[in-house]
Amino acid sequence: MKNEWPLWEIFIRGQHGLSHRHVGSLHAPDAELAIKNARDVYTRRNEGVSIWAVEAVHVAASSPSDKGPYYEPSESKVYRHPTFFDIPDEVGSM
């Protein structure tokens, strides 16, 4: 049986109440050790206060060929941004 440890993707929540953010990957035999290894590799300089580990095979990803159909439509929808609308100065900040 192939004994290479599976790959895990590691997410860390930084100090300031932000979301967990992807920081890198590592190998570990199971979830418990993935978190312990992540602690050793990715939080040695106060980088975080919480760790998520997800086995890489469970990450579903969009395909590069979807780039056009997925993301181009929003380019023409400038009205989705607040700056699209001119509000008179007299109204005050909005």
Binding site: N3, E4, H27, D30, L33, A61
Partner: protein, 330 residues
């Protein structure tokens, strides 16, 4: 550098008119500084060259722990020992970031390690030199990691996204390595005459191996062209070497040590230091496996890997058993 003499699968640059539409789109992205990501289309040669370069870079980080590990139990104070341990631990992490980057290209870490152990992949020539006295440890941090930083700062702009992101992280930590090394050397250079002599000896011995790290001169660097066009390599060997020398000479002068190469001299015309080339015969000899420590280094790596096999296998067996028990309980 940490990756030296990386062969590109072809010599010279593929002319635009010979490129397929896909290749042209790919090159256009690179020219516009758009990063290439793991699932994007890429030419096979680009992938193969990157795997070789990132793999060699990863191996260098890991083998680089050995010359320093030699001094962990001999560090002069508890503080220096803790600092050295932290640095060696960082190198293991750097190896991990880089193996992970290579894995996004479809090459597993175990496979890369196998190729290293079979002598089919290399690590940087620099780690085949011994660390003979405590000042060498300062010298490794300051000069060797200093040279690595020059290369790695440039590589933050490399075209492959995962490699570039690994470089950003590594550079932050390397800066600690260089500074702790210079700090250790300062203590010795400004210490007793014996300490100063040890610092001088370290600088004298490490200088040429350090400037060899950037690889042969551009004129002889036949594989660079395509790598530069693909932005796998961002600056030429000679450019990086000159940058390292220009920043390092004043640091040696500050220590009050003699320059390790009598031809080092500021050149007003070029705005750079002139320097003597290292002995390239020695470089190629070390690359071929005949450096002072090649055999030792590889033997130690293989031994560590083989001695650790029962731990890796045992933990994997435990994980499988636990997973099976969990399924049974559900």
């Amino acid at each position: 550098m940490y990756a030296q003499m990386i062969k590109t699968a072809r010599s010279g640059i593929k002319p635009r008119e010979e490129m397929s539409d896909q290749e042209r789109d790919f090159q256009d992205k690179i020219d516009r500084d758009i990063k290439i990501e793991p699932r994007d289309w890429m030419p096979d040669d680009y992938r193969a060259t990157l795997i070789r370069q990132i793999g060699q870079h990863a191996h260098s980080e890991v083998v680089g722990q050995l010359p320093e590990g030699n001094w962990v139990t001999r560090a002069p104070t508890l503080e220096r020992k803790a600092i050295l341990l932290a640095k060696v631990q960082d190198e293991a992490g750097h190896g991990l970031y880089l193996y992970s980057a290579a894995e996004t290209l479809g090459e597993s870490r175990d496979e890369l390690i196998r190729l290293l152990h079979e002598g089919r992949m290399k690590y940087s020539s620099i780690f085949n030199y011994p660390t003979l006295n405590w000042a060498d440890i300062g010298g490794v941090g300051w000069l060797i990691d200093g040279a690595a930083i020059v290369n790695q700062v440039a590589l933050q702009r490399t075209s492959y996204g995962p490699y570039s992101r690994a470089m950003v992280r590594i550079c932050k930590e390397e800066s600690f390595h260089a500074r702790q090394g210079y700090d250790a050397i300062m203590k010795m250079a400004f210490g007793t005459p014996e300490q100063k002599a040890m610092a001088q000896s370290a600088v004298n011995r490490l200088w040429f191996p350090a400037i060899m790290m950037f690889g042969p001169s551009d004129a002889e660097s036949t594989h660079s062209e395509q790598s530069m066009a693909w932005k796998i390599k961002v600056k030429s060997n000679d450019e990086l070497r000159q940058q390292f020398i220009d920043q390092t000479v004043p640091q040696i002068e500050y220590l009050g040590l003699d320059l390790p190469d009598p031809s080092l001299e500021w050149n007003d015309e070029t705005g750079h230091y002139d320097y003597a080339d290292p002995d390239w015969t020695e470089f190629f000899d070390v690359i071929k496996g005949n450096g002072p420590c090649n055999v030792d280094r590889l033997q130690n790596r293989v031994k560590a890997w083989e001695d650790g096999a029962w731990v890796r296998d045992g933990l994997m067996a435990h994980a499988r058993k636990k997973a099976a028990a969990k399924v049974a309980a559900e």
